[in-house]
Symmetry: C2
Subunit: 132 residues, 2 copies
DNA sequence: AATCATTTTGATAACGATTATCATTATTTT
DNA sequence: AAAATAATGATAATCGTTATCAAAATGATT
């Protein structure tokens, strides 16, 4: 869960903590640059990958292939529109009450939901240990 | 939920029913061709989009941007490895028992899970009605 | 300090799934 | 049958992400 972090990783982590919302890699690139902490895109993607494999941050990938990153602390429940792709963050939504979500957003027409557990499979846990 | 379907849509739907597993668009292209029911890739993507907007099929997008499609009937619960990207389908997993998932796959190291509701937001519901 | 080894970085090329384009073909309507 | 509409498919374009590789930074060793 914890590992020695590069400066880039720390910068990104600090920004994620401050923002307290999910953000894409491209947005991170712009935002860091705006704060005179410019990082190359490649570095950003690398840092995000490392933080993800540690379990420090979590990822959500939209159907257009764009990924959003946030701290792995808070649970996330979204209502996502299949057409425009926009997501509404559901506040205080106890996991597993899909009916609650329906009620909460009366006019949102829910087709289905997906619950996805993320982590490391046995062989990849081993592989990562060997690599480092 | 139901709408007039093109031949392409019906072909794809029939194949999804037969396979009873999630499959990517590219795989669909190969599989249909193997069955002498060749469809162009563009047509496949168009049909999938239409079926998705009807709520007939559901999509799951991996972090590499590749999307998988399946009938919207069954609930899906996965264990996905952050490193290799492979997903393990969890059978008979009552939604919202993340601890159950941990137990079920002892050696899978779970970092987090994401629950995502998919459907149409109010404005897109309206927009689609106007279009057609 | 100086040299060497290792790690990190960033500009850019390459990749790949998806979407847009547009002319052609099928289908429906009049 | 002619005209209008919808569907199709080959291919170009898009765009987020990953790979490449040389340069810069960091750390270790003498």
């Amino acid at each position: 869960m914890s590992a020695p972090k590069t400066d880039s990783q720390q910068q990104i982590l600090a920004l994620l903590k401050q923002l307290n919302r999910e953000i894409s890699a491209q947005e991170l690139y712009v935002e860091l640059r705006r704060r005179s902490q410019s990082l190359g895109l490649a570095t950003i993607y690398r840092a995000l990958k490392a933080l993800k494999l540690e379990g420090t941050i979590q990822t959500r990938t939209l159907s257009n292939g764009e990924s959003f990153y946030s701290l792995a602390e808070a649970e996330q429940h979204y209502l996502t529109c299949l057409n425009c792709g926009k997501s509404i963050l559901l506040e205080n939504c106890p996991i597993c009450q899909e009916s609650a979500a329906s009620r909460e957003q009366e006019h949102f027409k829910i087709y289905y939901h997906i619950l996805d557990f993320f982590g490391l499979c046995p062989s990849c846990q081993h592989q990562i240990h060997v690599e480092s």
